[in-house]
């Protein structure tokens, strides 16, 4: 352990203003990407489920295709 | 006899070769550009205007101006080339000539190269030729004028080549102008750095031959790669 106490650790010997924002921005962007991609997946799968429900009510509207590519 | 043969050649003979396609495109483009004289002068006037703005914005101090002159002239030339890029393919895209260019039997890269050469002849070359005039106004030392012109000649050709890729990528977009500068300016930085840096070295009296050779190398690399990249970009712009 390079620091005497937890308060010392937070203070970083006076460099706290520099060290913590740098870590915050880089690690924060990692967390943001992780959260966003998981939330986006939930949203997309809900969207697919909704598409399917709508289709079941009108079975002839748009049948599922093998590749299903839409542009 | 010979007249007869040329007549049949014209109907069923071999297709026009690479050189014929290149020179035909080049002469057509040059002729079109020279017919629109006001558009031809625009980049030059823009170049002169930017150079005029700097002494007004800074101070009419000749030592200050001569120290920033290489970078200033280079940035101004670069922006003038950038401004003229949007017209490289735009008109021909709108009236359908570009599709004919892609349908031609010659490789598209060669024809695109001809257009780029025409663009350089009407923007980069005149910019390099009038640069000493503006350099005098910025009190650039006299012994570095030839180096300034040489770097602008070599560099503006590279700028036209790289810029053609960006112009081809954005020609299908309605508001491609701002996007074009965002795409192209980062790619222009090496040319700017070596161009302005070489002139600065010439002012100090240092040998400049290696840096001129390096700028020639950049020109050679972009000559090899840029026409083909621009041709591929034109193809997708017409597909999309």
């Amino acid at each position: 352990m390079a620091f005497e106490s937890l308060a010392d650790f937070w203070a970083m010997n006076g460099y706290a203003v520099y060290v913590w924002p740098a870590f915050g921005v880089v690690l924060g962007s990692l967390v943001a990407f992780a959260l966003y991609s998981v939330l986006e997946q939930r949203r997309l799968l809900r969207h697919v489920a909704a598409l399917e429900r709508r289709e079941r009510q009108r079975p002839t509207a748009r049948p599922a295709t093998d590749d299903g590519e839409t542009t | 006899m010979t007249a007869e043969r040329t007549a049949t050649d014209r109907i069923a003979g071999p297709l026009p070769g690479l050189w014929q396609g290149f020179s035909a495109t080049l002469s057509r483009d040059c002729r079109l550009r020279f017919r629109r004289r006001s558009e031809l002068a625009n980049p030059l006037i823009f170049f002169a205007l930017i150079v005029t703005l700097f002494p007004l914005g800074l101070a009419p101090d000749s030592t200050l101006l001569s120290s920033i002159a290489p970078g200033l002239l280079w940035v101004a030339a670069l922006l003038s080339v950038l401004l003229s890029l949007d017209g490289l393919f735009r008109d021909d895209f709108d009236d359908g000539t570009l599709e004919q260019l892609l349908l031609a039997p010659q490789p598209t890269g060669i024809l695109v190269l001809a257009r780029i050469v025409a663009h350089w002849l009407t923007t980069g070359l005149p910019l390099a030729l009038i640069s000493p005039l503006l350099a005098v106004m910025l009190s650039l030392p006299g012994h570095s004028m030839d180096v300034l012109m040489l770097t602008l000649l070599l560099g503006s050709a590279t700028l036209s080549l790289i810029g053609a890729i960006g112009a081809a990528l954005t020609v299908g977009l309605r508001r491609g102008g701002v996007l074009l500068s965002l795409l192209i300016l980062p790619l222009y930085t090496p040319v700017l750095i070596f161009g302005a840096g070489t002139v600065r070295l010439a002012i100090e009296g240092a040998p400049v031959a290696p840096w001129l050779a390096l700028m020639g190398a950049m020109l050679a690399l972009s000559l090899l790669a840029a026409p083909w990249a621009a041709a591929a970009a034109l193809k997708l712009s017409l597909d999309g």
Partner: protein
């Protein structure tokens, strides 16, 4: 050869295979980054010259490495997409771009913040920072170009061409900026070139770099999976996936 390429390029195969790797990627990446951060922040000895401000190294260096690796990955995917027209390659390139831009920004931000205690100013026209800034502009240009096209295929091909032009240019930009920097005799003190770091300093850095790579892989795979669903919402296997509830992570 061809069946393998087709299998690799099949979105369905990718989706089912990556579903198995993804939890491992998220888990191991998170563990390594958390361990590396704790080690680097609390246990590594302070630098004899820079004191505790050197700890910024533990995010600055991985972010800078990832920014470059991400561009390399995008260039590879763009080449595969342009040559073989494998759409999955384009999806990976599109998924990686924002992450690369974020890492470039992170490297720039941490470098600027690090500059205050070491150089006494936020921004120095140092060769590394300047070429990073230009790379950020390249990333933004590629993302903007992809978004500007109305057709998805047009945007994909345009972005691929620009990525390849950019990757040829990046070494030239880097070299020219270094030359420009020596011409001006600017800051000679470099942030990352240090004489022989002790193991207690570079081991946490190694953990961080590996952890960042794993998280980069996880984010790219997850975003590619999302893109697959976005492009094929009516495919049978996607339907089966939703009904079966096997969402994976």
């Amino acid at each position: 050869m061809w069946p393998i390429i087709h299998k690799l390029g099949s979105p369905k195969w990718f989706y089912t295979m990556s579903g198995r790797w993804l939890p491992f990627l998220w888990g191991s990446g998170t563990i390594l980054v958390v361990l590396g951060s704790l080690w680097g922040l609390a246990f590594a000895p302070p630098d004899y010259q820079q004191g505790d401000s050197f700890r910024i190294l533990y995010v600055h260096v991985p972010a800078a490495i990832l920014a470059q690796s991400c561009f390399a990955l995008m260039a590879m995917c763009s080449l595969i997409f342009l040559v073989w027209r494998i759409k999955l390659a384009d999806m990976v390139a599109g998924a990686a771009a924002p992450f690369g831009a974020a890492m470039t920004f992170g490297a720039l931000f941490s470098g600027a913040v690090w500059g205050v205690p070491t150089w006494g100013t936020w921004w120095v026209w140092d060769a590394r920072l300047t070429s990073m800034l230009l790379m950020l502009f390249l990333y933004l240009g590629i993302m903007a170009l992809r978004g500007a096209f109305a057709s998805r295929d047009g945007g994909a091909r345009a972005a691929a061409i620009l990525t390849l032009v950019g990757v040829i240019n990046l070494p030239i930009i880097k070299y020219s900026v270094v030359w420009w920097n020596t011409l001006h005799q600017g800051a000679t003190f470099s942030l990352t070139e240090k004489p022989a770091m002790p193991a207690s300093m570079w081991l946490p850095l190694l953990l961080m770099v590996i952890g960042f790579y794993l998280l980069f892989a996880a984010v790219t795979v997850a975003r590619t999976r999302n893109e697959i669903i976005r492009r094929q919402p009516t495919a049978r296997w996607v339907r089966a996936l939703v009904q079966g509830g096997r969402h994976g992570l």
